[in-house]
Symmetry: C2
Subunit: 512 residues, 2 copies
């Protein structure tokens, strides 16, 4: 029998995130809630960044076209808009045998790659994009894995290093472990809304040499989970650093569709690179990732994303294709959905109005929810949150009382993990655990705020109730026994500031 | 800039199969055919084992349910069968947020895993299957990669070795390269219909020790691309060998639904293992793979498969989950389709008759096509083919004239690859290249015979025309100038034996 010590040491070294354990606990809580062993009827999950899970609706146009592609008899169904049927017909023609059941080239359907390139060109005000530089994959995570594996080599001091922000997307550390590269964390500056501090980045880079061979910088913009959106100057500085230090730029731009901060807009790294001098735009190697799991579409379950690869040696780029080959093919429904996401109905098309309404509603929900949640969180004692400008998360900081930190120590668990466990067990609310943890902290929570407005109210209520109980002397209060004092306290925090509850879509439509 | 020598040496070592180059050439031929620069109007691809590509129709029940799951408004559509809508409703309930757009647990939806376990239990006449041993992934290939990576360790003499059949599925060598394990090929016995020769397997295993550390046997049953189906005794022998040598069994049982050989049936390795003595059934580690891309369903593009893991140390099995976590989630439409494939309509359900007719038609097509193709191939000079008992391929042997082998040598290309290139360029037919190649051979072709019957006639006609031209003095004949002699010759071979052309579905229905 294969024993534990026979297992690939690289696989054994994968750091399983605390979130995984929480998810298992969450399944248990769900069962208990169903069996009425819990005061809550359902578990709400705002840790995973999956908006459909909490009730955000899919975009009708995307789902209608995919339904027709799967069951082409629906081409005859007059109750479906004409542009839906025409688009489905066009997409089916792009599939071999006109079936979504056929394999595609490993880097994706040519038709879709071309439409992605057209989208990028338009997004970047004419900076050209070549479909040969676009690679479709089963999610942005998969694309990232391909590039990171390409760079991976050496052991110990010669092992490839990748600079990673702290905090970073919670799935990143495990990916880097599996690929066999060293993560070199650079701290983002919380008090400046999680901005990139170039000096810090530079110092971390220099001090990493000798411990590993740094070969790439990973950056997430809009920031996951920070919500920070870089401005032009910050992006230029990072590009200059990458050029000077000959580092590959890995840019997670998955939330490019969800910038809502005042006077902020999304500007792609590529666009800025191509505005810079020739010495930069001809040499800096850049890979940009985008995904179907982004905010306005949120089709996490369909699994598709893409990367655009800039200035990479064609001999090296060849291996991107080789590695995608071992996946054989990317899910075709996901590929088609990418096409629909980036090439939506145009003004005058029958689906245009519904599409516009749905996407606007999603964006307004996101922005208003972020504002509302920020106010509530910042009114809680022992909690402080930077305001976000984009993305789908808030990342508040927890200032935990000594008592719970002590309790965590006794139980041999991180204090923030214990906080999340208790929140889940007592209130049926699953949030993401922050990334620094440890006894000293700082401790954080990750909250996806792209949820229906009435759901946000529930989330905030559960979080406040729990948090205030914890802060008020850290008693393990049975919820059914909660005293009036606490109720009042919760109400106070909850109705604070100007943030009116946006619990009906009527309110929201007004706000749009 | 990252240069070629910076690329991960393991990635650089991936052997790109000759098929990849042929596929690129195929795209070129398609374009030329469309621009009327070719005597053929379309390229036919029977190299990839993708039946929808050549026009085999999907199973309506699967596509209808998926369409409803994607666009739940169709639940109200009375024109869809009631069982379709009820099933869609049930599957949506199994998804978080009742949306296929939500992530699932990394090893798949519990509901689907349970239904897979129930299918396996029923298939194996009651041998119990536990849903905790079932892991869903984006295709069987992906599941295989997870297990192989788990086993991968060491370098040189201590590197993990996996015994692989020769011939094997054409995607396997690249997968093993990427995982960093040594492939140890064991030759199947062509003259015995590609049966496993246990003595050979044993000799290869012994001689591999010292070169690497063999830790697993990979086996494909029904055989890809051989079409061989192992009998009970052969399976028992392999299990005994695995037990004696403490090897993990990796069994590709993807084509379990497509055994058509006389007096042959599919028996799973697991069933046989559980009929053996306790010393075997409690200890032999076995992983069995199945896929949505199997014969009767053929949904290659949806990307889903699963593996069942037997007798694996729970501590080791834990890492299967960990590795699937880095994919985040398996495509949900694929997962649901797996459920539908393994749990089809029952007698009395509104969809039962259509479902039964469609799957029977696919199986009959496969069996009759295999018979028809076999006769044609074995009547060609310089070609011989073992009869197949299952799977979707024929794997004929080419006896190439010295002249083409010489030409290949001059051009610096394998003779069988040159054959396939010319076949593609001259006739627009893409077949799979065999796996041994080299100057000496033996040379083979891989042909997927799960194509519509009229398509098979075209495939055979193109292959015969080309092959006879090649054999008749190896002239590069312009097809428009083809002389009467050759035409007659082609007709002769083509109408040989008892094999009547099955070019209309009417003939086929009669044959069912």
């Amino acid at each position: 029998m294969i024993s534990l010590q026979d297992v690939n040491p690289r696989v054994r070294a994968i750091r399983v995130s605390a979130q995984t354990a929480l998810q298992s606990l969450s399944a248990l809580q769900k069962d208990m809630a169903q069996e009425a062993q819990k005061p809550f009827k359902e578990v709400i999950d705002v840790g995973s960044g999956d908006s459909h899970r909490t009730g955000i609706k899919p975009i009708s146009f995307i789902r209608q076209v995919l339904a027709v592609c799967l069951y082409p008899q629906l081409l005859e169904d007059d109750s479906l808009p004409l542009d839906v049927r025409l688009r489905a017909q066009r997409l089916l023609q792009a599939c071999d045998g006109e079936s979504v059941g056929s394999y595609t080239a490993s880097s994706g359907l040519l038709h879709v790659r071309q439409n992605i390139a057209d989208f990028i060109t338009k997004r970047d005000a004419g900076v050209p994009s070549d479909s040969n530089d676009v690679f479709i994959s089963a999610g942005a995570q998969r694309a990232l894995m391909v590039v990171v594996k390409l760079l991976s080599r050496g052991e110990g001091q010669t092992q490839t290093g990748v600079l990673t922000p702290l905090p970073c997307p919670h799935t990143l550390p495990a990916l880097l472990d599996e690929a066999g590269v060293t993560a070199v964390p650079y701290q983002l500056t919380e008090e400046q809304g999680w901005a990139v501090d170039l000096n810090k980045l530079h110092r971390v880079l220099q001090s990493s040499r000798g411990r590993c061979e740094p070969r790439a910088i990973y950056i997430s913009n809009p920031g996951n989970p920070t919500g920070h959106v870089q401005d032009r100057k910050s992006i230029q500085e990072v590009i200059q650093l990458a050029a000077a230090e000959r580092l590959l730029l890995l840019v997670d731009e998955v939330y490019q569709d969800s910038v809502y901060g005042l006077n902020r807009e999304f500007i792609s790294y590529k666009k800025i690179l191509f505005e810079m001098d020739k010495e930069f735009r001809d040499t800096v190697e850049l890979v940009s990732f985008h995904s179907l799991s982004c905010a306005s579409v949120g089709e996490c379950g369909l699994r598709a994303g893409y990367m655009e690869v800039i200035n990479m040696d064609p001999e090296v780029k060849h291996f991107v294709d080789t590695m995608l080959c071992t996946d054989i093919s990317t899910p075709v429904t996901g590929q088609l959905a990418l096409d629909l996401m980036l090439n939506p109905p145009k003004r005058g098309d029958p689906s245009y109005d519904t599409y516009t309404q749905e996407t606007r509603f999603a964006r307004a929900t996101l922005s208003l929810n972020a504002q509302r949640a920020l106010e509530v969180l910042n009114n809680l004692p022992g909690m402080s949150c930077q305001s976000a400008m984009g993305g789908i998360y808030l990342y508040p900081r927890l200032h935990l009382p000594a008592k719970i930190r002590m309790q965590a120590k006794v139980q041999g668990v991180e204090a923030d993990v214990l906080y999340c466990q208790k929140l889940l067990e007592e209130e049926g609310l699953l949030v993401g655990v922050g990334q620094q943890g440890g006894e000293a902290g700082p401790h954080h929570l990750r909250l996806c705020v792209l949820v229906p407005p009435d759901m946000l109210e529930k989330v905030m209520f559960r979080l406040c109730s729990f948090h205030l109980r914890l802060m008020n002397g850290h008693r393990d209060v049975d919820r059914s026994l909660t005293g009036e004092d606490e109720k009042e306290n919760t109400e106070h925090v909850f109705n604070c500031g100007e943030g009116k509850s946006l619990s009906s879509s009527g309110d929201l439509m007004e706000a749009i």
